[in-house]
């Protein structure tokens, strides 16, 4: 259990965090998500003990950890750049935390072998980091984090340097690993889709503050403000009438058919994006742009209607917060 209480760390410019209150349950896979500069990496550094808060308390398993050294926290961290030690081979990279903890040599060798085999890098143990591909480096970094069986494992955008196919595969493996280890995973990312697919709960951070906390589907369905609403979902939610109405593109139908429903907006087609299973049509009504599902045969410039069930729309106040919650 990690408890953050009124945690504040300010920097001159962006990237600090303010008054963060957050409880992370044992064995949970939680994602911290937000645009760059929102403070998510700072939050991770504070939990890991790489940075000290200006004020506030960090408790790990009920114990005040605010002033503890990183090694006293039992926390592992996987870095975006992998941060492998270039002068050590893969086997010593993975065994490094055990070496520092003075685990006997024979046990290090055994645990390194097991961990490497679990992550399918057993054949790379004699290589140097620079002889590895990005995906292999990622696995070595992962192995180094889990080899000491941490209760808490932090991930700082570890997949963002991988190509999309590998990223999708790693997500599946991370979930399996999480189930297997039973450890608490705290996953930082700026990729909303990654947060949605991976996490059991999502923390949305903006300008150093928690904007919303909840399961991904709840955040998607019930965003607390226009920021959260537009951050989640692709294509982005339609914000209409001076940003007071929000409609998800999947709830909008674009076509030339009759005016049988209440909410109908007329406009010209400006963009057609056929994705195979789905085609997104963007129209310009003269006042605003609306994206919705439509027929891939629609032509640019064609005059059409966008309509949706008003029950699916979200309502916002002028300050961005929800007026219908």
């Amino acid at each position: 259990m990690i408890e953050l209480q009124r945690l504040t760390r300010a920097f001159g410019g962006r990237g600090g965090v303010r008054d963060i209150d957050l409880g992370i349950e044992d064995g949970e896979l939680i994602a911290i998500v937000g645009p760059s500069g929102c403070g998510k990496s700072t939050l991770l550094s504070l939990i890991a003990g790489l940075d000290a808060p200006d004020s506030g308390v960090i408790r790990i398993d009920g114990r005040d950890a605010t002033a503890l050294e990183p090694k006293e926290r039992g926390v592992a961290l996987v870095f975006q750049s992998y941060a492998l030690y270039p002068h050590l081979d893969v086997s010593r990279n993975i065994g490094f935390p055990l070496e520092i903890a003075r685990v006997p040599k024979a046990e290090i060798a055994e645990r390194v072998r097991q961990t490497a085999e679990r992550l399918a890098i057993g054949h790379l143990l004699d290589r140097r980091p620079k002889q590895l591909s990005g995906g292999e480096r990622q696995r070595v970094a992962l192995a180094r984090a889990i080899v000491r069986r941490p209760r808490i494992c932090l991930f700082d955008e570890p997949l963002s340097n991988l190509d999309p196919a590998l990223r999708a595969q790693m997500r599946v493996e991370i979930r399996a690993l999480h189930r297997e280890l039973g450890a608490t995973f705290v996953w930082v990312t700026h990729d909303q889709a990654e947060a949605m697919t991976l996490a059991e709960r999502v923390v949305v951070l903006r300008e150093g503050r928690v904007r919303q906390l909840g399961p991904p589907r709840e955040i998607y369905a019930h965003p607390v403000d226009t920021f959260v609403a537009s951050f989640f979902g692709a294509p982005t939610i339609n914000l209409l009438e001076d940003q007071t109405i929000g409609v998800r593109p999947e709830n909008v139908t674009v076509g030339s058919g009759g005016l049988d429903r209440v909410e109908a907006h007329e406009g010209r087609v400006v963009l057609v994006e056929p994705l195979g299973a789905e085609t997104w049509i963007t129209i310009d009504t003269g006042k605003e742009r609306i994206t919705g599902r439509g027929d891939p045969d629609l032509a640019i410039g064609e005059r059409v209607f966008a309509r949706w069930d008003p029950a699916t729309s979200l309502r916002f106040r002028s300050d961005g917060t929800r007026s219908d919650l």
Partner: protein, 265 residues
Amino acid sequence: MSRRLFAALAAFFCAAPFLWLVLTALRPEAELTRLGPPSHLSSTAFVRVIREQPLPRAMLNGFLVSACTTVLAIALGSLAAFSLARLRPPGRSVILAGALAVSMFPPIATVGPLYELLSRLGLLDHWAGLVLPYTTFALPLAIFLLTRAFEDIPEELFRAARVDGCSPLSALVRVHLPLAAPSIATAALLVFIAAWNELLYALTFLSTPERRTAPVAIAMLSSEHAEPWGEIAAASTLATLPLVVLALIFQRRIVSGLTAGAVKG
């Protein structure tokens, strides 16, 4: 082609004084003041400085003093540089500027006060009385080179080492020192050369002939009545050899140390 020619000329320009020195050392004594090639080569001067002069002893003294200075300067320098580069103490730029200022003092201006100081500490005419001032003059260079070297090591490696359980000191020893090895070799060699060649302090602070370092021993070869050029040249050649050997051993590392950070990757 012209580039090669230029390189050869530059190399010749740099090496010429040393080659001339070696040639002078090998000339028969009667031909010392003559230009042009010697009639034959003679090892008399070398034999004489090794057999009759305290040069071997002086070189040993110099080696010990220089080695101590190097070890001390690199040990203290890497601690200082590491904290400047990674732990970000307040007043970091002031400290760096201060280090630079120290290295700007002309040694001649400090000889008097240092003499007083060493005499009160009882370190006059003692090898430690040279190692201490040498180290203070070598430290700024070591701190500068090593701060740069440590800053070139990605910050995330330091963070990874900390999370993996290292104290800052063990992160230095286990991660940063191995990765900064080329720069450390460079700094060590530059410090060693400076200490090995230093004349003013060594001449002033040492009085017992058996404790002299190589430059002092060479300076003492001349007397009021004679300038034994052949012996001076032979002694200088011998005193230079250890540096040449060290430079050759560390050549590759020095080159990569001096250009560290110039190219990423």
